[in-house]
Structure formats: structure tokens, C-alpha cells
């Protein structure tokens, strides 16, 4: 599979100017949730599924209404509740059922930008189950120019605070056995507090912290922060390993995770994607390829709603090869 193509926003409309059977996006408090939608020609989209977090309707209402207005009667809504993964699964399944056509071949554009990682993983798993029905899946991801825009000191940037619960992602239970040691693989992003919660929760014997290479970091400060966190983790815990992955390439992320897991065979492998949404997709692909992988999610208590991010100047587009959505026999 080719990697994700980085498209300047100015060129996005022309790149998306093709008929789509289905467009799926997530209404959010972030302005980035509108970027892809605004670059679509509504007349070329047959059906739209707008996913939203009903528990923060006051924060996302404006953007959700905007999306509804853009696509009118073609728009179906589905509620993804951050604290109720079963409801999220059922609502997304119902939503997909109502928009996916009966055709043998159909196209779906999925704007992954502002989904929670858990909802995105659940959605991908549902699409995987539908894969035999001939879906041509294209992913879109609008980058951010900055995160935590209320803080100029990169050490104080925050996106979320507190962890309400650490849980397995529905549909990715893995093949865990009690007698095996636990190998926790984390794709580290900004949120080191969530990483600490995961380590406390799983108490792994082996920890593998994955980082994007310096050249793919959002800023040099961010890379420096990652190094500081890694040093702290090495100070605190025995058995900490480091590996690199490509935050903007799901396929390479998949391969990196599988390779890292293979270094410690006969362990319960727990994967926590906490970096970009594209790398989260890579974690899903890894789990599809190896169903022994257990994916987990740390539900945040509080989001930096007002200053989460600012919109970048480009969007990544990726047409997904079907084999990545299939489960490989083991």
C-alpha cells in the first residue's frame, strides 16, 4: 500500500471531487471536524453519517448543525458515547447500516480527524466486518498546526487531564492467557499522563514506548518532550524499550507494532495507540493481522475543549488496500 498523501488544503476540494457513496465524519469541538466536509461537493455524496458525542452537545452543537445543514436529508447521526462503549458499537453499527448501499462495490470516505481513538477503532472493526461487501475505503486526516494553543511553553501543553477508566477496546480483546507476561506497547503522543495510567493499570513486565522520528515530530519541542518522558519512564520502570514508528503511515505503523511484538514472543501484547489518528489506524491494522493483539483505551476525564488544536494547512488522504482490513489466519 502506498503511504498517505499530504495534500495542501487549497487542493483538497479538487482531490475529493469524485462521487462518494458514503461520507463518515465526527462532529467535534475542534474546527478540524469541518475541513474535509467543507471541501466536498454535497451533490457528489449519496449518504452521510455524522458521529457525535451526545454528552457534550453544548460544545459540538454548532459544528454538528453545520454538518447537518451541509448535507441535509442525506445526513444520519450516530451517538458515540465516550463512557459507554457498547452503546457506541451499537449506534455506529446502526448508523453504518442505514447509509451503506446494497451495491457490490461502493466507496466510503472516512474523515478520521476528530473521532476519539476508541470510536475510530470500533468503526474500523465494523468496516472490516463489512469488507467482503466491496468497500473502497479512503481515509482523510486534517493535520493540526498546533496543539494546546493556550500554552506557549511546550512543557505545559495539555490536551486531556485525568483518566476515568482504562479498558479494552470492544472488538479487540486479543488472545490473552493469564500465565503469560504482559508486553505493553504504547504509541506515545502528548499525553504522558495517560501513558502512566496505562502502565499502572496493566503492570506490564515489558514496556515498549514508540516514538515518531524527530523529522516527523510536530515541533522540535515536542520531540524534546518525548525524550524527557522516555527518560522518566526508564528511571521509574524496569524493562522499558524504545522503538520508532511512522505517525503518518498506517501501514508502517502496523509493521512496527508487529515487529516490536515479535521481539518478545509468548507474551500478552497490549497495544495503546496514543499518537496520531493515522497511527491509530495502523494499530487497528496490526490487530486485524494478528488477533492476539489486545487494544486498549484510556478514557480521559477532561479535554482542553477551548484550546485543543488549530487547523493545519494540509490533509492526508489514504486509499486503504483491502487486505489490510482482512484478518489473517493464525
Amino acid at each position: 500500500m502506498s503511504g498517505a498523501h499530504k495534500v495542501p488544503l487549497a487542493d483538497l476540494a479538487s482531490r475529493l471531487a469524485t462521487p462518494w457513496n458514503v461520507f463518515v465524519c465526527c462532529a467535534s469541538f475542534e474546527g478540524r471536524c469541518l475541513t474535509v466536509a467543507q471541501n466536498l461537493n454535497p451533490s457528489q455524496v449519496a449518504a452521510v453519517l455524522v458521529v457525535q458525542n451526545g454528552s457534550i452537545s453544548s460544545l459540538i452543537g454548532t459544528n454538528a448543525a453545520h454538518l447537518q445543514k451541509m448535507f441535509g436529508d442525506r445526513c444520519v447521526q450516530a451517538d458515540a458515547h465516550p463512557s459507554n462503549p457498547v452503546a457506541t458499537e451499537d449506534n455506529l453499527a446502526q448508523g453504518l447500516k442505514s447509509v451503506i448501499p446494497e451495491d457490490a462495490e461502493w466507496s466510503l470516505l472516512l474523515d478520521i480527524t476528530t473521532f476519539t481513538r476508541e470510536a475510530l477503532l470500533v468503526l474500523l472493526n465494523q468496516l472490516r466486518r463489512l469488507g467482503s461487501r466491496g468497500c473502497r475505503l479512503t481515509l482523510a486526516y486534517t493535520g493540526a498546526s498546533r496543539y494546546g494553543t493556550d500554552e506557549s511553553d511546550s512543557e505545559k501543553v495539555w490536551l486531556t487531564r485525568g483518566v476515568k477508566e482504562v479498558r479494552s477496546v470492544l472488538g479487540y480483546p486479543g488472545g490473552l492467557l493469564p500465565s503469560r507476561k504482559t508486553h505493553l506497547i504504547v504509541l506515545v503522543g502528548f499525553e504522558t499522563e495517560r501513558v502512566s495510567s496505562l502502565i499502572s493499570s496493566y503492570e506490564p513486565a515489558i514496556i515498549s514506548l514508540g516514538y515518531g522520528p524527530k523529522e516527523s515530530s510536530i515541533t522540535d519541542e515536542h520531540h524534546k518532550l518525548n525524550l524527557m518522558f522516555h527518560q522518566q519512564a526508564v528511571s521509574l520502570y524496569d524493562g522499558v524499550n524504545r522503538f520508532e514508528f511512522a505517525p503518518n503511515s498506517p501501514a508502517e505503523t502496523k509493521n512496527s507494532i508487529i515487529a516490536q511484538a515479535a521481539k518478545f514472543p509468548n507474551t500478552n501484547v497490549v497495544v495503546a495507540p496514543l499518537n496520531t489518528k493515522l497511527s491509530t489506524v495502523g494499530a487497528a491494522f496490526a490487530a486485524f493481522a494478528d488477533q492476539r493483539l489486545h487494544l486498549c483505551y484510556a478514557e480521559a476525564a477532561i479535554y482542553n475543549f477551548s484550546h485543543y488544536s488549530s487547523i493545519g494547512d494540509s490533509c492526508y488522504l489514504l486509499q486503504v488496500d483491502r487486505h489490510l482490513m482482512m484478518s489473517e489466519p493464525k
Binding site: 454528552s55 460544545l59 470492544l170 488472545g175 492467557l177 524493562g239 476525564a301 477532561i302
Partner: protein, 590 residues
């Protein structure tokens, strides 16, 4: 040089290392080693898992220098983590008629797998092969078949007890894997028919363990199932476990259940509550060490000494974590002044009381307040670090690990022999700031009102800021009791206050204790601010039990209005709070 303070999962520690590192505090909890069901409550980091590790047979054999069969019990460690028993798919069963039965079978499969894994990993001297085979055929396999198992247990060719238990383990692991395979299919919402065996506690787990422990090479006492972090069980599993507690089979199977103060319920499947007197005992680790600080300090001292020795450092804990000499000299001088002035101006009964009470607060008051400019108070020194850890060993070890790493970085090739005071101080200050949600102040109060959890967190943050600020004002005041670190409730807390305080306890910002109420007519709750926050509010972390009584109104004001502290500052803490001098708890002063 390895970091002597790095966190190691107790399960990964060898018996020899555990025996070397472990500071025996089991005697602090006498009933823990006795037959009987027991709940052990304590926040993460209070040492529960390490105690369980030490209760496993390999450690007990070393500790007691005895043969396995002479031990009082056979301990099987059963951690409840997200990697076992706790899968999101199980939520699908919540409204299913077979929810309880399936969850019980899942639990039995897990515990039996743990038991068999422990058996196959134990070195049994003088083991009886024929007795083992009889047990496996006539009890284990027979009962499993009665539960619907259709497999085989091939032990005829086994030449050792170890091989027999390995075959038993393989069966148990397959049983567990079969359940996991069923659970995997629950994610979509369609619940397939379950056609596998169904094992329960009374028809399988208990009778098998009862028969197992009668094998001549095993201890005659009960099997302890040491269930760690039982908060992670879902509600159905918790009801099931409580039903096991209620069966009073502890002479054969004693359930030692640890929680992190978040255990979901004490009800059984039938809706009855398990009875604290008849069914189980319980202990709160942090409460014990909060009220008996000298015992805690001794334990920490032993732990640190052992860890230093393990990496070849001969310094004592006090030498390894030295105080800021200039600061302590200045405080010592104040102590001498207070002693000299006691006859004329003293408040306490003895000169030494005043010195102990006022020297450090007066020193802090003489600094330029909590702003970052000017001289600042140093939290370096073993004694202060012990206080700051708030009776939880983890909160000593984690900062110590970070300090060691920094010192090692500074020292280069020179082996670390002590941690410089400024490094100690900087690390604990950063930890304190990380704990405190500074950013909460920036969040607009009108945002996200539907999120109940967010509202509670915001109220808790306001309360913590208020308490920290007020405690600092008291510290630098001229009141007779300045070292206040806790509040006691004048009224029973209303629902909202109760919820916020409970969240504070659960998140580690507050610890809960009890004391006599103001009217002398009963007892009330005391909430102690974690000393880990002392650096953020410029508080003296050392241990008097000073507290102030507060009303529900005060707490609501503190939770709802961040400006409350400003009003107290304006009015003066002397006018805001009575200068109460509760009886000194000198045992808690270190």
C-alpha cells in the same frame, strides 16, 4: 549502576530478590496470615501486591526456613488486571439471563488456571505421585466432567508430580481459552449459544481445592486465593465473589481480597450483604500507617536501606537523602530561641513542644511567601521525603527513582553516593505541581455543564486549592496550632460534598480517617490533604495531627467559588477560623 528505586512488578521479582527486598510488615496485619476471608484496602502503591508476593510459597519457604508442607497455607496469587477477567465484551452479558453463570465460570476458569500454574511451578520435595494421579483422576477430571467438560487428561505416562500438574495446567488453560473465545464473539451484540462446560465455586473450585490440599506434600492449612485489585472485577463478578465469601469455606479456601478503595459492592448474587463480623475481616493499610507514622517511617527506612545495599551503596537513608544544611541550621537556631523564651512566652507545656511546633512554621513564614522569587523552603532530607510520601511507599520510591536518575546524570561516571538537596527539592516540587491541576483554573466554568464528572473534578480542584491555601495561611499565622493538614466535618456531609470528598480520596488527594466530633457525642470523618501537595502550597509536611472543623456551607463555598480563599486572606485566617488546639498526637510527630 542500576536505579535502586525503580518500580518492579512484584510478580516479576524472584523469590530471592523479594526475600532480600521485602520488609516484613505482615505482622502489622495479623489476620492476613490466618485462615479466613479478608479484605485489604489501600491506594495503589501502599504495598498490597508486594505483601501478596511475599505470601507465595517460594518466598514463605525462604522466610520461614521451612519445608513447603510445614507452611501454614499455600498462597496462589490471582491479580485482576485488564488482561484477565476484565474485558469490555463482558458488558454485553449485563442484561443476559446467563450473566452471572457465565461470569462465575469465567472466574472459576481463571482461578483454577492460577492454582494449576502455581502447582506446576512449585518444587515439591517428597511428592506422592500416585496420590497426585488419584486426585487428578477422581476429583479434578471427574468434577470437571460433571460440569460438562468433554476433554481428556492424559496423565498415565507422567513420571513426576510436576508433569501431572503441567497436564492439569494445560487443561485449565484450554478451559480459560475456550471462554475467551466465546467472549470474543460478544462484541457485535449477537450472543451465540454457549455450549462449553459451566463450573461454579461450590460444585468445582472449592471441592477441588479442598481435595488438593489434602495431598500429603501440600500444607495442611487452607489455600489462600490472593485476589489483587478486585476493584477491576465487573459488577456481576463482584457479586459472585461476595457470594463465595458468604459460603464460609475459609478453612479450605481463604479469599484474601485487595482493593484500591473502589470495590463495587458488598452484596451477593441473592442481594444479601456479606457480614463483616461473620463472613470476613478487613483492614485499611493507609489508615494504619497514617495514624502510626513511626511504624511507617521505620518500614520506609528498612526498605530504602535494603534497596541501597542491593546496589552496593553503604550510606544510611539519612546520608543518602541529606537535608539542606543551611536551612536546618537556621531552623535549629529558632528552636533554641523558642526554648530560651519558653519561660516568658511559651504556649506549650514544655519548651520542647514550642520548638517542635513553631520553629519550622516561623522559618517558612520568614521566607518570601509561596511566590517563586526570593529564598524558598527546601523539602530535601529523608525525614521530609517520608512525610511527603503520605504513608504510601510508592510515593517515596517514585520520586526517589527520578532523583537517582537525575543525580546519575549529573555525576557522570562517578557512582552516586547521595542525592543533592537541590535535586531532591526540585523533583518533589515538580511531582507536587503535576498532581495539582493548575490548568483547571483556566477552564471556563460555563463549559461542558452536562459532564457530571467534570463538574465534580472542578469542585474537587477548587476545594484542594482552597484547603492548601488556608493551611498555608494558618502555617504562617500566629495561631497556636499552625500545622494543620486536615479538616473535620462539623455536619454530616450532604450528597454533593460526600461525592466530591469521595472522589478526592479515590484520586489520592485526600485520605480519610475518623475522630471524635466537636460535641463529643460521636465520631466524625477527618479528611487529610495528601502531603504530596505540601510543596505546591508551601506547607510543612511533618506530622502533627492538626485539623480544623468546617461546615457544609464552608465546603460548598470552597468548592463552588475559587474567590473564597481571597476573602479569607482579606479577612484574616485568625478571624475566619477559631484558634483551636486539639490535643497533640505526639506519636505522629516524627
Amino acid at each position: 549502576m542500576n536505579n535502586p528505586f525503580s518500580v518492579r512488578t512484584p510478580e516479576e521479582i524472584t523469590a530471592t530478590d523479594a526475600h532480600t527486598l521485602f520488609v516484613d510488615n505482615l505482622s502489622d496485619f495479623p489476620k492476613l496470615l490466618d485462615p479466613g476471608h479478608m479484605f485489604i484496602h489501600g491506594p495503589r502503591g501502599s504495598g498490597k501486591s508486594m505483601m501478596f508476593r511475599y505470601m507465595k510459597p517460594d518466598c514463605q519457604v525462604l522466610y520461614r526456613a521451612s519445608a513447603l508442607k510445614e507452611l501454614a497455607f499455600f498462597g496462589v496469587y490471582c491479580p485482576i488486571r485488564n488482561t484477565n477477567l476484565s474485558l469490555t465484551e463482558l458488558l454485553r452479558l449485563k442484561t443476559h439471563y446467563a450473566d452471572v453463570v457465565l461470569n462465575e465460570h469465567f472466574m472459576v476458569a481463571y482461578f483454577m488456571e492460577r492454582v494449576s500454574d502455581a502447582l506446576r511451578g512449585t518444587d515439591f520435595a517428597e511428592a506422592d505421585l500416585s496420590a497426585t494421579k488419584l486426585f487428578l483422576e477422581n476429583c479434578f477430571a471427574k468434577r470437571l466432567r460433571r460440569c460438562g467438560w468433554r476433554g481428556e487428561l492424559p496423565i498415565a505416562d507422567c513420571g513426576t508430580v510436576q508433569q501431572c500438574f503441567s497436564r492439569m495446567f494445560e487443561v485449565c488453560e484450554d478451559l480459560y481459552a475456550e471462554v475467551m473465545g466465546f467472549i470474543r464473539h460478544l462484541s457485535t451484540g449477537h450472543i451465540p449459544d454457549y455450549k462449553g462446560p459451566l463450573c461454579g465455586y461450590l460444585d468445582f473450585l472449592h471441592p477441588v481445592i479442598k481435595e488438593l490440599k489434602s495431598l500429603p506434600f501440600l500444607p495442611a492449612g487452607p489455600v489462600f486465593l490472593m485476589i489483587d485489585d478486585a476493584d477491576n472485577l465487573n459488577l456481576s463478578q463482584t457479586l459472585v465473589l461476595n457470594s463465595w465469601v458468604a459460603t464460609r469455606t475459609s478453612s479450605d479456601v481463604s479469599l484474601k481480597i485487595s482493593t484500591q478503595l473502589g470495590y463495587k459492592t458488598y452484596r451477593t448474587i441473592s442481594g444479601q450483604y456479606i457480614d463483616r463480623t461473620h463472613d470476613y475481616t478487613e483492614v485499611y493499610i493507609d489508615a494504619l500507617y497514617t495514624t502510626n507514622k513511626s511504624k511507617y517511617r521505620d518500614r520506609v527506612r528498612e526498605v530504602i536501606q535494603k534497596r541501597l545495599a542491593l546496589v552496593g551503596i553503604s550510606a544510611t537513608p539519612e546520608e543518602f537523602f541529606p537535608e539542606d544544611e543551611a536551612q536546618e541550621a537556621a531552623i535549629k537556631k529558632r528552636e533554641e530561641d523558642l526554648i530560651a523564651r519558653h519561660a516568658a512566652e511559651g504556649r506549650g507545656n514544655r519548651p520542647g513542644d514550642d520548638a517542635l511546633r513553631y520553629a519550622r512554621p516561623e522559618y517558612i513564614a520568614s521566607l518570601k511567601g509561596p511566590s517563586k522569587s526570593g529564598a524558598s523552603y527546601s523539602y530535601a532530607g529523608f525525614s521530609q521525603l517520608v512525610h511527603l510520601s503520605s504513608a504510601l511507599i510508592r510515593y517515596f520510591l517514585e520520586p526517589a527513582a527520578l532523583m537517582f536518575s537525575r543525580q546519575k546524570g549529573d555525576s557522570g561516571a562517578v557512582p552516586v553516593q547521595f542525592i543533592k538537596p537541590h535535586i531532591q527539592d526540585e523533583v518533589v516540587r515538580k511531582e507536587s505541581d503535576n498532581l495539582l491541576f493548575e490548568e483547571m483554573d483556566k477552564l471556563a466554568s460555563e463549559k461542558d455543564q452536562e459532564n457530571e464528572y467534570y463538574i465534580k473534578v472542578r469542585k474537587l480542584s477548587n476545594l484542594i486549592h482552597n484547603l492548601g491555601g488556608v493551611f498555608h495561611l494558618k502555617l504562617i499565622s500566629s495561631q497556636s496550632e499552625r500545622r494543620v493538614f486536615s479538616i473535620a466535618l462539623s455536619d454530616p456531609p450532604d450528597t454533593e460534598i460526600g461525592a466530591v470528598l469521595a472522589l478526592g480520596v479515590q484520586q489520592g488527594y485526600l485520605q480519610k480517617a475518623s475522630l471524635g466530633n466537636k460535641d463529643g457525642t460521636g465520631r466524625t470523618h477527618r479528611y487529610i490533604l495528601t502531603r504530596r501537595l505540601a510543596p505546591s502550597f508551601l506547607l510543612d509536611p511533618s506530622g502533627f495531627s492538626g485539623y480544623m472543623f468546617v461546615t457544609n456551607k464552608y465546603l460548598h463555598d470552597a468548592m463552588d467559588d475559587p474567590k473564597t480563599l481571597r476573602r479569607i486572606k482579606g479577612k484574616g485566617v485568625d478571624l475566619s477560623f477559631a484558634d483551636e488546639q486539639p490535643e497533640l498526637d505526639l506519636d505522629s510527630a516524627l
